[in-house]
């Protein structure tokens, strides 16, 4: 097992190096002058020369590249040209929004997807099956931005005043307090990476609410997360439902299931304890693969629901030509993606010995 993990880890290194290089190249060929994008069109040549010297933009591109790789390896993602804040600070503030959104979307996709797929497989060719598969087909055909806007309209306008009305934008209602964990636990003196991690966790409102036993914050966070999570989670939900159905149907036709039935095991137990365990293997892969789609969809979901996560940050950075932010954030996202795929591969190998031995 450890050999498998080490081999997969080593294989990720060239991919990550490629990612960093591609981002560097893309950020440099954006047709724009970072100085005038940051300081305005009226900046004089002398000011821009000073600006370029300060950010090292006047050095040869190869020197910039080597310096940049060294910086990344040292954990320094640079400082935003426009906001004059470090990319790390921005990430600690904004990545939690995206993480929270993605986790809720994944939760929705997995729970609803597996449930629908299971119903569909057990009652194959029944109206329930047909209905579920229609939902699944519609689910993969509806763009995130259409579904998001429709949900916002439905829950904020049509259902306005009803108990199930939901807020269509933002993360929290005005007046709901968030106490940073560092403050709640009297750890203001903490610095360095532990503080970054603490702040990161603190900025995931759900965790913050649970850890500080803040009921109103939890309720408000959940209310704000329902619509974005459904909008973002519907495509993976549909894919998971279809995958669960076909995989469960495959497994239910196998001999060991017939044996279990012949032993007199109840049908419910046959499905839950015997069939699902094996049927969920390919579903695990699909869940892992859907993460890329979720991160892509987060760009749109955050734009629609006005959530300041990294999706929105990247779009803003690109339109503002803030290439240090683009570089830093895109690299972090790509690294997260590569690591998650690694974890999925490894967990898959743990679940299915044929993979690591094959």
């Amino acid at each position: 097992m450890s050999r498998f993990i080490i081999r997969r880890l080593l294989l990720s290194i060239p991919v990550l190096l490629g990612v960093v290089t591609l981002v560097f190249v893309l950020a440099r060929v954006i047709p724009s002058d970072p100085c005038r994008a940051a300081l305005g069109e009226k900046a004089t040549d002398a000011i821009c020369a000073a600006f370029n010297t300060r950010y090292g933009l006047d050095r040869p591109i190869v020197v910039q590249y080597v310096g940049y790789i060294g910086q990344i390896l040292g954990g320094d993602l640079g400082t935003s040209i426009r906001f004059n804040r470090t990319v790390a600070e921005m990430l600690v503030e904004r990545l939690p929004v995206t993480v929270e959104l993605t986790l809720y979307a994944l939760l929705f996709a997995t729970v609803v997807g597996i449930t629908l797929g299971r119903i569909s497989a057990i009652r194959r060719n029944s109206p329930a099956d047909v209905g579920t598969m229609i939902i699944a087909n519609l689910g993969v055909s509806i763009p995130v931005f259409v579904l998001g806007l429709m949900l916002a309209y439905l829950f904020a306008v049509v259902l306005k005043g009803s108990p199930i009305a939901l807020p269509p934008s933002g993360r929290l209602s005005p007046g709901v307090d968030v106490v940073p964990l560092a403050e709640a636990w009297g750890l203001q003196g903490l610095g360095g990476p532990p503080r970054l991690i603490l702040d990161f966790v603190s900025n995931i409102n759900t965790f913050n609410a649970v850890l500080t036993l803040n009921g109103p914050l939890l309720v408000d966070t959940l209310r704000h997360m329902v619509l974005p999570a459904i909008a973002l989670g519907t495509i993976p939900m549909a894919i998971i439902a279809r995958m669960t159905r076909s995989s469960l149907l495959d497994v239910l036709g196998l001999d060991y299931i017939r044996t279990a039935r012949a032993k007199g095991v109840s049908e419910r137990r046959v499905v839950s304890a015997h069939a699902m365990r094996n049927a969920l293997l390919p579903v695990v892969t699909v869940i892992g693969l859907s993460l890329g789609g979720l991160l892509s969809g987060a760009v749109l979901t955050e734009t629609i629901f006005n959530l300041t996560g990294i999706g929105k940050t990247i779009v803003e950075a690109i339109t503002g030509r803030d290439y240090i932010v683009i570089q830093g954030v895109v690299i972090v996202v790509a690294v997260i993606y590569v690591v998650v795929n690694l974890v999925v591969d490894v967990s898959y190998a743990m679940l299915d010995p044929r993979i690591r031995l094959g």
Binding site: P14, V15, L16, G18, V19, L22, V23, L26, V29, I30, P31, N137, L138, V140, S141, I142, P143, V144, F145, V146, L149, M150, A152, Y153, A156, V157, P168, S246, L249, G292, G293, L295, S296, G297, V299, L300, T303, I304, I314, V315, I318, I326, V330, V333, A334, Y337, V338
Partner: protein
């Protein structure tokens, strides 16, 4: 497979002589048409193609012409007004209402079919051609070439697709063609992997060895023997990829990076009016429905094609 071994009674005529040889393509088409989802998808698609082709006849107005000041009673973001359904006769009839510039939404949705069908097919076509080329070269020549090409593909796959597409559009500049290029580039690795996998299995087969023994050149074997036999999974993947391409390009247009006004493209129609969703939901619903129907058609067709061409998945 059940093979019956035995002698054909002499009294029977040679069955091969009586039967016309059936062509591979006709068989394939027949198989596809036996899939319910493919038929439904194809029906939708024929309808959409008809809408696209006959757009000038179907559309009630010029899609880019504002009605304000031209038609009495026309108002910006006017909701749908259909006289048969009780809309007052003194208001002009607009099946899907007017948009923020006072243009007829129905006509824009109809003309949008042209744009979206073309987007789906061109984008996937571009990705398939490049992807197949890369995959075929990697699979057939193996070794270092394979390693370099496929690691490159891994790097592209290491990005969430829309994010990379946004970055590419930023480099190339906004616009529909560049958005299609970006989505196409991002999709290349998928097709390259599919092609490589087929090529790897086909090049070991006996008929390829036979060609090699007959002295055919490596390039010749690749083009004439391997590639035609590796096309099936590529077609399946491509049909399924069209819907995704349409959605992704629409997403770029929604963000303002793709189709530029005044072009009637569904994604950009929604993007421009997204802040008006609470007051004028029809501006989101109708173009949104158009995208859903188009993608549903391609997805159903793709599922059908996959079930028809890949017997392992038949159930």
């Amino acid at each position: 497979m059940t093979a019956t071994v035995g002698k054909v009674p002499d009294a029977l005529a040679d069955p091969l002589a009586a039967q016309k040889p059936s062509s591979l393509w006709r068989d394939t088409l027949w198989n596809i048409l036996r899939q319910r989802s493919a038929v439904v998808g194809l029906t939708f698609l024929v309808f959409l193609v008809a809408v696209a082709v006959f757009a000038p006849v179907i559309a009630t107005y010029n899609p880019n012409e504002p009605m304000i000041g031209v038609q009495a009673g026309a108002k910006v973001r006017m909701p749908p007004c259909i006289h048969l359904l009780g809309c007052p006769a003194n208001l002009p009839q607009h099946l899907m209402g007017l948009d923020g510039n006072g243009r007829d939404v129905f006509s824009r949705v109809v003309y949008g079919a042209r744009v979206s069908l073309q987007i789906g097919i061109l984008t996937v076509g571009f990705a398939i051609i490049l992807g197949a080329l890369i995959g075929a070269i990697a699979g057939y020549f193996a070794g270092k070439t394979d390693n370099v090409l496929m690691r490159l593909m891994d790097v592209v796959l290491a990005f969430p697709s829309l994010l990379l597409a946004i970055a590419i559009v930023t480099v190339l500049g906004q616009g529909l063609i560049n958005a299609q290029l970006a989505i196409g580039i991002v999709a290349i690795p998928v097709y390259a992997r599919v092609m490589r996998a087929s090529v790897l299995s086909i090049r070991e087969q006996e008929f390829v060895a036979a060609s090699r023994a007959l002295g055919e050149s490596r390039g010749g074997i690749l083009v004439r023997r391997v590639v035609p036999n590796a096309l099936t999974p590529l077609i399946v993947q491509g049909t399924l990829g069209i819907a995704a391409a349409i959605i992704d390009v629409a997403a770029l247009s929604f963000l303002g990076l793709g189709a530029q006004p005044p072009l009637a493209e569904w994604g950009s129609m929604i993007g421009i009016e997204r802040n008006a969703v609470f007051a004028a939901p029809h501006l989101i619903i109708f173009p949104g429905l158009a995208i859903v129907v188009t993608c549903l058609a391609f997805n159903l067709l793709g599922d059908g094609v996959r079930d028809a061409l890949d017997p392992r998945l038949n159930r």
